[in-house]
C-alpha cells in the first residue's frame, strides 16, 4: 500500500456538461416577405424614377436643342433679311443718287471758287537782331558765385 493516494493530488478533471443551447427561432416569415416587398418596391421606384429622369432629361435636352436650332435658323433668316434691306437702303443712298437728288431736286451746285476767300499770309522780309548774351552771362556768374559759396561752406 502506498502512502499517499496520488490520485487524490492529481488535478481533477472537471467534466463539463455541454448543454446544447436551444435556439429560439422566432416565427418571422411574414415580416420578411413584407420587408422584401417594400424594399423591392422602393428599389423599383428609385430605378424607375432614375430612368424617368434620364429619359426626361434627354427629352428636355433634345427639345431645347431643337428650339435653339429653330431660333438660330430664325436668327439667320432675319439677319439675311436685314442684309437684304440694308442693301436696298444702300442702293437708294448711293453717291450717284445723292448727287442727282442734290443737283436736280435741291438745286445744289459744286463749290465755286468765289465761295472760298483766299488770304495772303506772306509777309515782307525783315531783319531781326539777336539780343546780347546778357542772360547767359548773368546765369554763369550766379552759378559761379554759388559754387564758390558751396566750396567755402565745405571748407575746401
Amino acid at each position: 500500500m502506498e502512502a499517499y493516494n496520488l490520485e487524490l493530488f492529481a488535478p481533477k478533471q472537471i467534466n463539463y456538461e455541454v448543454k446544447e443551447k436551444l435556439k429560439v427561432i422566432e416565427n418571422t416569415s411574414e415580416k420578411t416577405s413584407k420587408r422584401m416587398v417594400f424594399q423591392f418596391v422602393v428599389l423599383a421606384g428609385v430605378v424607375l424614377a432614375t430612368v424617368f429622369m434620364l429619359i426626361y432629361n434627354q427629352v428636355a435636352i433634345t427639345e431645347a436643342a431643337n428650339k435653339i436650332t429653330g431660333l438660330n435658323k430664325e436668327l439667320a433668316a432675319l439677319q439675311s433679311d436685314q442684309t437684304r434691306i440694308e442693301m436696298q437702303i444702300e442702293n437708294k443712298m448711293s453717291i450717284k443718287k445723292i448727287e442727282e437728288y442734290a443737283t436736280e431736286q435741291l438745286g445744289l451746285v459744286k463749290l465755286e471758287n468765289y465761295q472760298i476767300k483766299y488770304v495772303d499770309i506772306t509777309k515782307e522780309d525783315k531783319i531781326e537782331i539777336a539780343s546780347p548774351k546778357l542772360d547767359n552771362d548773368l546765369q554763369k556768374g550766379f552759378l559761379s558765385v554759388f559754387q564758390k559759396f558751396k566750396e567755402y561752406i565745405a571748407g575746401n
Binding site: A77, L78, D81, T83, R84, N91, E112, N113, Q115
Partner: protein
Amino acid sequence: MAKGPSKIMKTRMFIILVLITFVGFSFPIGNLVKIQMFESSFYRTQAADQQLLDIPVNAKRGTIFDRNLKALAQSASVWTVFISPKDVAEKDKQTLINGLSEILSMSPEDVLKSVNKDSYYEIIKRKVEKPQADQIRDFALKTGINAIYLAEDSKRYYPYGTFASTILGFTGIDNQGLDGIEAYYDSYLKGVPGRIVSAKNALGAYMPVRYEKQYEPKEGQGLVLTIDEVIQHFVEKHLEIAYVENKVKEKVTGIVMDVKTGEILGMSSKPDYDPNQPFVIYNEDAKERLAAVSAEQLREQTTIEQQKQWRNKAISDIYEPGSVFKVITSSMALDENKVEENFTYVCTGYTMVEGHKMRCHKSTGHGIQTFLDGFKNSCNPLFIEIGRRVGTESFFKYFKGFGFTKKTGIDLPGEELGVFYTDKQMGPVELASCSFGQSNKITPIQMITAISATVNGGNLMKPYVVKQILDENNNVIKTNYPVKVRQIVSEETSKTICYFMEETVKSGGGVNAHIMGYRIGGKSGTAEKLDGDENARIASFVAVAPMDDPQIAVLVLIDEPRGFSSYGGTIAAPVVAGIMSDVLPYIGVEPKYTAEELAKLDVKVPSVIDKTPHLAQTSLNQKGLKVRVVGSGNNVIKQVPEAGQSISRNGVVVLYTEEKSAEETVTVPSLIGLSVEQANQAATNAGLNVKLAGTTVGGQQVVQKQSHEPGQKVARGTVITITFINKNATD
C-alpha cells in the same frame, strides 16, 4: 454482347466531323474574312451611302469692301422653292398653281409645266427672298399642301448696281465667282461648306432625331479693295458723260492710279452691266444689234454681247497708244542722254524713213522746235528722229523695262498681253512708227503703270486692286503691300518728264486739261486703228497731279468717237480735267491760284434790293461788276443776276427800279464755235452775262457748249455758262 463504338471509332468520327464542318464553313468564313478585313472600307461606304443622308450647308460668301470699308458686294440667305409633283393631289393642283404664280410673280403656265412633271423634285424658282418665302410657308400651311418645300440658298447683292461692275465681276447660280474679283479671289471668298449628316429611312426620308451630326460651315473671307468709292464714282460719272457726248461706237475706259504705290483708286469702262443681273444686256446699242439679228443667230450674238459687256477693257483690250507713248520715248532719250541741251529739229510736216513718207498731224509742219516744243506739239517727225537716236536695241530694252512685254500681274482675271515688235523684228520703219505710239499694241493698265513710273522717280510699281483680306469677324489676316518691280529711269529723267508734261498742259496740246489753281501735267494721244476702219480713231489723254509731288495719274481712252472731234487733246483731255477737278479736292489737294488766276476768279453777286440805284451801283462796282439801271424808280426792286449767283468780273448786273420794266426778256444767241472775245461780245450785245467754264489758257479757245439753248427767252442779265475748249489741242 456487342459493345458501343470503340474509342478509335469515336476519334475517327470526331475528326471526320471536324473536317466536314471546316470544309463546309470555309467558304462563308473566308468570304467573311475577305469582306471584313480587305473590303471593309468599300462596304462601309456603301452602307453609309445607303443609310445616311448628307445635306450640304452653304457657307456665307465673304463681303467685298472698298478701301473705306463700304460694302460693295455682300451675301444673304434666300430660298429655292421646289415641289414634289407626284405628291400633289389632283384637287390641289389649281390652288397650288394660282398661289405660287401670284406670290412668285410667275406665269401660271410656267408653274403648270412643273406641276405636271413626273418627278419628286421640281424647282419652281430660285433666289426667293424672305418676304416671299414667308408667304409661301403661310400659303402651304393655310392650304395644307405638303408638296411645297423651301431649301435655303444664298444670294449675292451688289447694292450699287453697275458701280465698279467690271472690277467686282459677278457670281453664278451656285455662288461661284465667274468674273472679276469674285472669280480671282473665289478660293478666299467662298468659304468651306458645312454638312448635316443624318440617317435616312428606306424611303429616303430624313430622320433628324437619330444619328444627326452637324458640321458648321466656315464663312468666306472678306476683301478690302484699293478702290475708293468716291473716286470710282467720279470716274464713272465723267465716263458716262463722255460716252454720250462723243457718240462713242466702242467704249470709253478710265483708270485712276496712285503713282507711288500702284494702287488702283478707280477703274471703269462704259458700257458695262449690272452684276445683280449679269446676263441681261444693259447697253442700248447692244440691244439694237440683238434686235437686228435672226432667231437662229440670236443665241450666239447674245453670248458675244454678254462677253463684251463683262470684259474689263482696262486690262483685256489692247490698243495703239498713240502720242501718249511719246512720254515713254522721251524718257528713253533723256535717260540715255541721246538729246543734247541745245537740240533743235525742223518739222516740215513729214519725214522720210526708208522711202516711206511719215506725216505729222500738222501738215504744214511745226517749224523749228526744241525737244520741249516737240513734246508739247506732239510732233511725229521729231519723235521719229528721237527714236532713231535711241536705236532699236535701247528702244526695246526700255520697252521691256517699262513692262510692255509682260502682263502687269494685276490681281484681276482676263489680263491680256499686248502685241509688239521685238528688237529682232524692228526695222527703221517699225522703230519710227513705234516711237510715236503706233504699231505696238498695249493695254491701258500697262500704259498708266509705265506713265506712273516716269513721274514717281523712275520706279515701275505693280498695280493691284486688293488691299487686305479679312476673316469672318473682319479682322485683317493678310495685307498686300506695294511692290516695286524695278527702277527703270533715273530721278533726273523723271523730273524732266514732269516738267515737260506740265508745260504741255500749260501751253501745249494738253491745255484742255488745265484747271485753275492746280499744277497738272499731261499728254494727249490720237491713234489710228490700223486693223480696223481707216477713219476710226482712239482718243486718249493721261494726266498726273499735283506736279510738285505727283500723287495720282488719270488715263482716259475713247474708242471710236463719232462726235465733233476725235482728237485726244480735244475730247479726252476735258474728261480727264473733269475727273481731276473732282478727285484733287477730295484727296486734299487744295488749289493755289497765281495772281493772274486770282484776277480771273468769279464774283458772287451781292443783294442790292431796296437800295437806291446809286448805292447799289457803288456796292457792285466795288466787287468789280458793272451796272445797268432800267427804269427811273427810287429803289431797286429786282436784280439780274440774282444775289448769290456767280459771274465773271466785269460782268453786268441789271437793276430794275420799276414794276413795268421788270419783265424785259432777251433771246439767247448761239455762241458755239465762237472765241472768248466773240462769245463775250455776243452775249453782252444780247443783254446777257457769261460765266466761263472749261479751259481758259493757251489761246484759240472756242465755245463747245452753252448752258441755255439758242433761241431761248430769258431775263436780261441772265448768266449763261459757256464751256471752252482749245481747238489747237489735237494730239
